[in-house]
Symmetry: none
Subunit: 207 residues, 2 copies
Amino acid sequence: MLMGKLQENSKVYLEIVGKLKEIIGENQLKAGDRLPSERDLAEMLNAGRSSVREALRSLELLGLIETRRGEGTFISDFRNHRLVEILSGFILESDQAKQDVQETKELVEMMGIYSLVNRNTTVNVQDLMNQAEEDDSKLFESLMNMTGNFLLVKLWRIVSNFEQSLQLSKKKVGKQVYENLLKAINRGDWFQAMEIYSQSVRNEVEL
Amino acid sequence: MLMGKLQENSKVYLEIVGKLKEIIGENQLKAGDRLPSERDLAEMLNAGRSSVREALRSLELLGLIETRRGEGTFISDFRNHRLVEILSGFILESDQAKQDVQETKELVEMMGIYSLVNRNTTVNVQDLMNQAEEDDSKLFESLMNMTGNFLLVKLWRIVSNFEQSLQLSKKKVGKQVYENLLKAINRGDWFQAMEIYSQSVRNEVEL
DNA sequence: TCAGATTTGTCCGTATGTATA
DNA sequence: CTATACATACGGACAAATCTG
């Protein structure tokens, strides 16, 4: 029956989701690594194959794993979750949710900027400006990476993917703004950096 | 076999997820409304009950629907989706991101403070100080709630819970510090507010 | 209180498509 | 080509919870 705790209110497939999380963490499984087969998992966790499948499907929809018929189940890269399209289809009618997504992304970006200044990071202005030529997102992804805070990087990716799938209108930002922002970071002037971001990069959120 | 399109590479449960979205849309189903039973859905969509369950479970894990034994399956408030919790749970469990947890929590708190100032929020100093008496976390949870940004609140809860489970040592912060912080927020002086937080509340992070 | 119907929860058996050695 | 391993999918069976009359 697979009873994780004393009083188990949770359902078997939820317990399995938790177990899978532990398995991934303990074995340090990375993207591309293979999970045990459904039957092995069912035996390991003392549960039915259907319950295992329900757990695996749930995680597959989230984009955390990928199952290929005849091969097995594999950890996928968090960046590849097509979950956002599915979820955004459901929450599309909620303007509040959209607004939260955009605002959160902007807050995460501000966190990154603050973190960079706080660590006295010197950024390569020229390189980053070239990346901004292609796509504004590239610039911020690089900035997030430079913080060295992986959690922040992953949070940014999630929210950024979400924002793109929601097709929110984005403000057009001039090159000069970014250059000033980067220079402020290099000067260690976080007050100025935050001002620039807040006033020139952020999208206005009507209150 | 349920073939939605001509050549379908997609799996049955994914088609069912799509169909469910249509059913919800066409019938204008709102939070609390009941979906057809699993067996009815299986018959309607010409699929097996197991496949229907896989689809329903996936949506349940996301927090988009809720199933209750003996009753049925019901639409949830989409604002309560659990995307962030689930993804973050896996990210935190897997990566060595644990070292980033504390920093990220502090960044989230700073962004919350920034958001409050940015929205010209006036906080009730006395109430919040009382909450801080019990537990410092209470104070910040209330502050995050006041931002009105659901995602930010969720992020804070996740990171905060995880930080507690890591049993990190926390700095002891005096009452006067919090009072000054709250007053700075009410003055709209975010520079001062951030300085107070940064210097007196944050734990030093060795670089 | 009670009995019967409905619904989800869980597991199992079987058949099949696919990839690999 | 064969054999094995694996996911995909369906349907049956029974348990447990809930609802209805």
